[in-house]
Amino acid sequence: MIGVATGWYVYGVAARRDGLEAIAQVVGRGPLAALVAEVPLDEYGEETLRERLNDRVWLEEKARAHEEVLQAVASIAPVVPLRFGTIYDELADVERLLDTQAASFESALERVRGRVELGVKAWAEPSRLAAALGGDEPAGAEPSGRAYLERRQREQRLAAEVAARSAELGENAHRRLLAAAVEGVANRPQPRELTGRDEPMILNGAYLVPVGDDALHAEVERLAAEHESLGITYEVTGPWPPHNFVET
């Protein structure tokens, strides 16, 4: 990239292994390997990046690229994901990062070694949950304002009940999934704008599980079977690089 100012984007830090070079450029120091890419600063510089981040197409492309590199790395070595947009001036800066933070990277790698992150999302279908709570009101003619008003009040009470019960179901599911995982975290449910689904999300959990361990999947199956009549559905995503389990 002669003539263009560049920086060094760091995807993550892995346990050093043969084969990492096939995925991304490697900066190796002792047992650690940073996965890097040279990026033009006219695209990743401070000012342009502000604009780019508002460009959904650009953001999606780059975020997925970041994720894909980490996925590939995770398939052959323990890896600590860095947050999107970590860029250094010089490769020597990346080397110094590995040197000065060697101990914390190594303990972070130890935490995730032989483990993967799984996502579990649960969705409520409010009308089915309302019906299960006994709020199924027969629809009929509304002859008077009073009847209308009473019906509105019933609906409001029911909606509040449904919301409370949804939250409770989500919390209970998270507790049960935690028992089937090494660690877990319940993140804020994603909003409809982002999921593109009408049903509200009632659980957005991430769980760290041993590679090849089926306990979490089995628990999700049990939850799904138990909650089917309530209109709750579950979705497992991953395996992911351990994004949720590297913060110190």
Binding site: G12, Y44, F84, I87
Partner: protein, 103 residues
């Protein structure tokens, strides 16, 4: 629940963008805590960090907030012609107690 939804994805099935962004933009190690995007010369572990889009908070400041909002409180994102707001206007006109905006 389809078996596909429960299946452990071992192949390169495309992840939902929401899940990717949530992880890539809001998780992972932040090298120096909350680095401000405009702190170009920050001294970090004697390393000069050029730039870091540190967090979702930062992205929010930049106006990327479309993943924000509580799943149960999304009405602020709806336009004024949603059923809810039309109903509220009717109720106000009729002198009836109004439907709470968010529940």
């Amino acid at each position: 629940m389809s078996s596909r939804e429960l299946a452990h994805r071992s192949g390169p099935a495309p992840a939902q963008l929401a899940d990717v962004l949530e992880r890539v933009l809001d998780k992972g190690i932040v090298i120096a805590g909350d680095i401000q995007i405009n702190l170009l010369d920050i001294e970090l572990l004697t390393v000069k960090l050029r730039l870091l889009v540190a967090s979702a908070d930062k992205a929010r400041e930049m106006g990327i907030d479309w993943w924000e909002g509580d799943a149960f409180l999304s009405s602020r994102h709806r336009d004024g012609n949603s059923l809810d707001s039309r109903l509220r206007r009717l109720e106000e006109k009729a002198g009836l107690p109004t439907t709470p905006e968010e529940q």
